[in-house]
């Protein structure tokens, strides 16, 4: 268990591409932090710098009370789970899990005991003498987890560990990993491009875009109080509605109608979550529903409001049909963003 501190950590590749712009944050002991963002946003590079697989261009990286910038990956007291599992194909499950311990000159019977314990925890007892090629995807994922667990590391690193699994297994493993991390209490950094994984697993989410950190916050903060239009549109399915609207002396206007009051003049980006727009016969606004997506528990209505597309999410009890619909908006649900920078106002 350890605190991890990044101090203006930066990565520039030899070709001049700045993959990670100077990033600073602290991960508390036992915390589960998820790095999320679209592909190419620098999240994996950040993780690989923490692991020691990628050289750090600038800045300091602390794990525990050490600066580990130049420490070998094997000496950073970390364990990593890779996207494609990265199991040693020629070793049995038992050897795969025990390999890291063997290299630390730990006694054979201790290794065996630890491997058995990990196998118990992960339901791998019956597979210890098999090779990875004889295992299913979920089992391989568990072996990769086992390999990480037995080392008793002070930091777990996960690089999109679930993206090679099918949807059902992914949900199951998501819960297993989260539960395991809770039980072991090991500080963890988890990289994913899946916002659902980020929301469900994280204590804190770090949203990245274009090598830059957009926002750091709890899942609830990131969802309900996004710091930028990028975060607003990346987190949540369907994402937050973003409308280009005008302001006249503090009145926010949509289609010539005042929606709310917000200081200042000029154009502004208005953000509102699809579930915060409610069908209401006495509602002040009229939208035109063009398409209905049926999801069982709820429906997503695709509509046009004053020429701009919006989505609203309603529960299954609300009758829905295409055509004009009167709606009300929860007054505290409106967020405002700078139309140029995308930052929250």
């Amino acid at each position: 268990m350890a605190q991890v501190t990044l101090n203006a950590l930066r990565k520039v590749y030899p070709n001049g591409f700045e993959a990670v712009k100077p990033a600073s944050f602290t991960i508390e002991e036992g915390e589960f932090v998820v790095l999320v963002g679209p592909s190419g946003c620098g999240k994996s590079t950040m993780l690989r710098m923490i692991a020691g697989l990628e050289e750090i261009t600038e800045g300091d990286l602390h794990i525990g009370d050490r600066v580990v910038n130049t420490v070998d990956p094997a000496d950073r007291d970390i364990a990593m789970v890779f996207q494609n599992y990265a199991l040693y194909p020629h070793m049995t499950v038992r050897k795969n899990i025990g390999y890291g311990l063997k290299n630390r000159k730990i006694a054979k019977d201790v290794i065996n005991q630890k491997v058995e314990e990990a196998a118990n925890l992960l339901n791998l007892n019956d597979y210890l003498d098999r090779k990875p090629s004889q295992l299913s995807g979920g089992q391989r994922q568990r072996v990769a987890m086992g390999r990480a667990i037995v080392r008793d590391p002070s930091l777990f690193l996960f690089d999109e560990p679930l993206s090679n699994l099918d949807a059902k297994l992914r949900n199951q493993m998501r819960i297993e990993i989260k539960a395991l991390q809770r039980r072991l209490g090991v500080t963890s950094v988890y990289v994913t491009h899946d916002q659902v994984e980020a929301m469900t697993m994280a204590d804190r989410i770090i949203v990245m875009n274009g090598g830059e950190i957009e926002q750091i916050g709890t899942p609830s903060e990131v969802y309900h109080s996004p710091a930028s239009t990028f975060v607003a549109s990346f987190m949540g399915a369907p994402p937050m509605n973003l409308l280009d609207v005008s302001r006249e002396n503090g009145a926010v206007m949509v289609g010539g109608q005042q929606v709310a009051e917000f200081t200042g003049s000029g154009s502004v980006t208005l953000g509102v979550r699809p579930e915060d727009i409610l069908p209401d016969a006495n509602g002040s606004f009229e939208i035109n529903v063009t398409l209905i997506e049926e999801l069982g528990a709820h429906r997503i209505l695709h509509a046009v409001w004053a020429g701009q597309p919006i989505m609203i999410s309603v529960t299954k009890d609300v009758a829905a049909e295409t055509g004009p619909l009167r709606v009300a908006i929860k007054p505290d649900a409106l967020k405002y963003f700078d139309p140029q920078t995308g930052r929250r106002l």
Partner: protein, 293 residues
């Protein structure tokens, strides 16, 4: 799995015929002929032959020159195989780590592959030449009076060096592509699991290269035994006398220079049996330890 088939029976046979006839004419027929001739004594001028039973074989075993060649062949094959495999592996591992100018290095290392064996032999000869070979002068600096084609050891040395040099690029190409087919993440996982670079190589990289290495082992033994003919012929310059030669070269020398077709046939039969046994041994003993992914 659905299997595609031919609608008529004669079509596949017809398609295989060219290949089969080549194998029959150039391999099975001469092999059968060699087995037959090995039991006969041929008239040097082609006026008939006499059945002598196993006599060709027994005289082989009594011939000190033949046994000396056999001994040389074993040492030569071992040296060429081990040296060309280990050097190529070393070069491939190093070239795999090069980032700047990787393509130039790799091309240069594969360059020699395009040289035909007799040409390689000639180039070797030039390097080792008595009167104007740079290597001879170089060895002279250390007080080594290098005599190609005169001194048994010096000639053998030149043969091994040229043969290894010629075979290196083939092995290099295979080892390099083998290394590059090892998933990057597996190597990274090893990087986290093991701090020792040599430990990582022997525990993870080498076992994953083993299928390539085994394939190359067979290719290289075959090369050292048979395909070095051109190099040896060029170095020996058709003057076998006291010079070292492999069993394959002796088959040629005794058969076509010495006109002893029966004895030469017996030698080739012995060679055939040896190679067969060696191949069976390799597949039974070595291949079992290899993990194919």
């Amino acid at each position: 799995m659905k299997r595609a088939g031919f609608s008529t029976r004669w079509l596949p046979i017809l398609l295989l015929l060219p290949q089969l006839s080549i194998i029959l004419i150039f391999f099975y027929w001469p092999a059968a002929h060699a087995v037959k001739s090995s039991f006969y004594l041929q008239d040097p001028f082609g006026f008939g032959e006499t059945f002598v039973g196993m006599k060709n074989y027994t005289s082989l075993l009594k011939s000190s020159a033949y046994l000396r060649s056999a001994q040389f062949t074993v040492i030569f094959t071992l040296l060429v195989t081990i040296l060309s495999l280990s050097l190529a592996l070393l070069l491939a591992v190093k070239a795999d780590k090069v980032i700047k100018g990787a393509k130039a290095y790799r091309t240069l290392l594969m360059w020699v592959y395009a040289v035909a064996p007799p040409v390689a032999g000639v180039i070797g000869l030039v390097l080792f030449d008595q009167t104007w070979g740079p290597l001879k002068d170089f060895f002279g600096l250390f007080g080594w009076d290098f005599r190609l084609g005169v001194n048994y050891f010096d000639t053998a040395f030149a043969m091994v060096v040229v043969s290894v040099w010629k075979q290196l690029p083939v092995n290099f190409i295979f080892f390099l592509s083998g290394l590059q087919s090892i998933p990057k993440s597996v190597r990274e996982a090893a990087l986290i699991d093991n701090r020792s670079a040599s430990g990582r190589f022997w525990d993870v990289t080498f076992p994953l290269l083993a299928p390539t290495a085994f394939f190359l082992l067979i290719i290289n033994i075959t090369y050292a035994l048979f395909d070095t003919f051109g190099i040896i012929d060029t170095v020996v310059k058709g003057e076998p006398s006291n010079n070292p030669m492999t069993l394959v070269y002796r088959v040629y020398v005794d058969g076509f220079r010495g006109n002893d077709l029966g004895g030469s046939s017996a030698q080739s039969v012995v060679l055939m049996v040896l190679v067969l046994a060696l191949t069976v041994f390799q597949f039974r003993m070595v291949e079992r330890r290899i993990h194919y992914t």
